[in-house]
Symmetry: C2
């Protein structure tokens, strides 16, 4: 069988098939699994890419029935049951799990694709980190020249008040206040601004109003300007225009306002719902009992409409698809997919996180923060990544420093300010 | 005063001026110090870039009289005592330390610049790591297709039997045998070859013949083919031609056969010796008592000709230049530079390293290896980097794994085999 995508869902499916008489091949266009919940810490220089990424081939060193290879899927030959890859080769399957996840969606807002930074891959995170460091370097050089610091050089706008946007805004505020302040003595870092823009009237939609308020207050304590009920209308290299027509001079724009299913779903010609492949209650594509779609890519059915595009849905979906496949081999039927919501978490920064469990229990403040740290450490793949993250977190916590603020590109920009996007 | 270059020499000079009444500005075209002795471990996926790099601005958080900024020096205005930068700005100096080090030298061998990989920066190391991983991915895909594994896909040639070449060859052999063997079950890794080519008749020129022989035997035990008395005549994407006309089919070529002084020395118009700026016994440029050149960039005088281009010469030169400058401020003269050779080390791999001290003492085997590990840990900048390297070394040692084998580029190559260089 073939699994396309080595994210949370794809890996969960592969692992769940470990003790079954199935040969598993995992294809991914990248050679590593990316632990997306911590990418914002890579972007803000607290962790490095290899702390949050794990070679897919390494995942299967000890699983004898599974292999991985690099491969970008471009199509399916459904009658011959073959996956078509971008290098012109094909891979046969008897069952197929599609788990390629989601990509950043600009929702048609002009300039987002060209000038804003997404946060779905390690490359995205490193690009954003490099952009911030370059922009601050150029601003200090200009300030020192007497030509004056460029407008908006120290202003960062984050669009989207979900967990990614909240964590990103908190991370940027801490980066400015604790690290860039000491790194750039030639800049007046008190003038640096982090602005979080959210279209609805509260942050963290899925959380209770009380927790959402706590998160907002924690962000504001870090100096983040939270603008609720505000949309982004246009992004330009040096400014952001809001829905009400006001503009903010800003040279860094992080787009955390949403994702959409990977375009592969539509490209394959299956029925989709907002880009997500429609599946039955066993996560099978209707008419193709041998093809499954899970996680962000699938419109997994639930009583209140399709399930949210979050990691636990992908993990549980992957395990369910594996169970259906394994049961099928034994000539059995496996029951329908029922998602078990285990709650949600988001962190704002040092000593501040919120968590909401399905039974109504909530955590916040330092207890929520410790719970967040422990959960994320446990969810990482591999003891080496966990140890590295633990070392870096301890370092960041004790020293208020961020060790990974590296610009790895060799060449300096020739312009005073770097281009974006 | 201004220091150009944040390598071993430039940082040593800046730190030695910590308690002097001098304002120090450190310029570097990269924003980080690179611990070059461990770059080969980044290239072989044992460490990641941020383990061996350290933000230059961070070095000076606690040194009140020093600052750093990004800047590529393009020239000097000696009469006005100003450094000219690539972005068109200028920086004034009263004294100037030039410490930009060395770059990879192809010595005119055709194809080296285009097709071989150097190892002077983190970007170099990551590029080489990506190339090896991509080449093995493509080879496995082709082997699986039935089109057969491309000629030379699993062959890596390292040119240069100095410490960098020896460590690189050992690292590649261990990477193949212990990691890629498990990563690529579709390839016959016993057919992978690592060939170390050295022009003279022994490895590690500076070491005693006995230690040099030990290193060669340790490499051969790892499966490295050592070819002494052999030069490289030409490098092409899929083969290497040796001086005697024989060719080796190889898709990976690491060029560790030599470095030359950074071209800045010649560009500034100072008298040079093989690209290295000629300096007097105080490391000053003749005729310019306010300008110093140190380390790999300088032809630091010694009884037996210019000193070697190694880190200890740079560190001691940086400290000496600082002492001369500090003495000058007090109206005093400081003595001539005398290099103290503290010995040399090189590691071949697990439990195998050699060290030679000036008093004739030698270390080898596991004792040499432990000494090598401890010394390199101590020489790293910052406790965070040391902790990260220690975690990764412990991981690599205990599991025979290498955690950082990431291909961070998003796009897959469309050709069966990636382009090189």
């Amino acid at each position: 069988m073939v699994i396309v995508g080595a994210g949370f869902g794809g890996l969960a499916a592969a692992r769940a098939l470990a003790d079954t008489p199935v040969d598993v091949l995992v294809l991914d266009a990248r050679n590593h699994h990316t632990f997306q919940p911590l990418l914002y810490q890579v972007a803000t220089a607290g962790l490095d890419a290899d702390d949050v990424c794990y070679a897919v081939r390494g995942v299967f060193h000890r699983q004898r029935n599974a292999r991985a290879r690099l491969g970008r899927v471009t199509g399916l030959d459904r009658s011959r049951q073959r996956v078509l890859l971008s290098d012109g080769t094909e891979v046969g399957y008897d069952s197929l799990v599609l788990a390629v996840g989601a990509v950043t969606a600009d929702f048609g807002v002009p300039g987002v694709t060209e000038h804003a930074f997404g946060l779905k891959s390690a490359a995205d995170a490193i690009e954003l980190r490099s952009h911030i460091l370059r922009t601050f370097e150029a601003a200090e050089a200009d300030a020192g020249n007497g030509s004056g610091e460029p407008t908006g050089a120290l202003t960062m706008v984050v669009a989207g008040g979900g967990p990614t946007g909240v964590e990103m805004a908190g991370g940027l505020a801490e980066l400015c206040d604790r690290v860039l302040r000491r790194d750039f003595p030639g800049l007046d870092i008190d003038r640096a601004r982090v602005i979080l823009v959210e279209a609805t009237d509260h942050l963290l939609g899925g959380f209770s109003p009380r927790l959402s308020d706590k998160a907002r207050r924690a962000l504001e304590k870090l100096g983040v300007e939270v603008r609720l009920g505000t949309t982004v209308a246009e992004v330009e290299p040096d400014r952001v225009t809001l829905g009400d027509g006001t503009t903010i001079a800003a040279r860094t724009m992080v787009w955390a306002a949403g994702v959409r299913a990977h375009p592969l779903g539509e490209a394959l010609g299956f029925a989709t719902e907002r880009g997500r492949i429609v599946v039955d209650d066993r996560l099978r594509v209707p008419g193709h009992p041998e093809i499954f779609a899970i996680g962000d890519l699938a419109a997994s059915p639930a009583p209140d409409g399709p399930l949210p595009q979050v990691a636990p849905v992908a993990v549980q979906g992957g395990r369910h698809a594996a169970a259906v496949i394994a049961a099928g081999l034994r000539g059995e039927e496996y029951g329908p997919f029922v998602y078990r919501d285990k709650g949600s978490m988001a962190t704002v920064g040092r000593h501040a996180a919120i968590a909401q469990l399905p039974n109504g229990t909530t955590l916040s403040g330092i207890i929520g923060w410790v719970a967040w740290l422990v959960l994320h450490l446990v969810m990482l793949i591999g003891y080496r990544n966990r140890a590295n993250v633990l070392v870096n977190w301890a370092w960041n916590y004790l020293t208020y420093d961020r060790g990974s603020r590296l610009l790895l590109d060799e060449a300096l920009p020739n312009d005073a300010l770097p281009k974006r996007g």
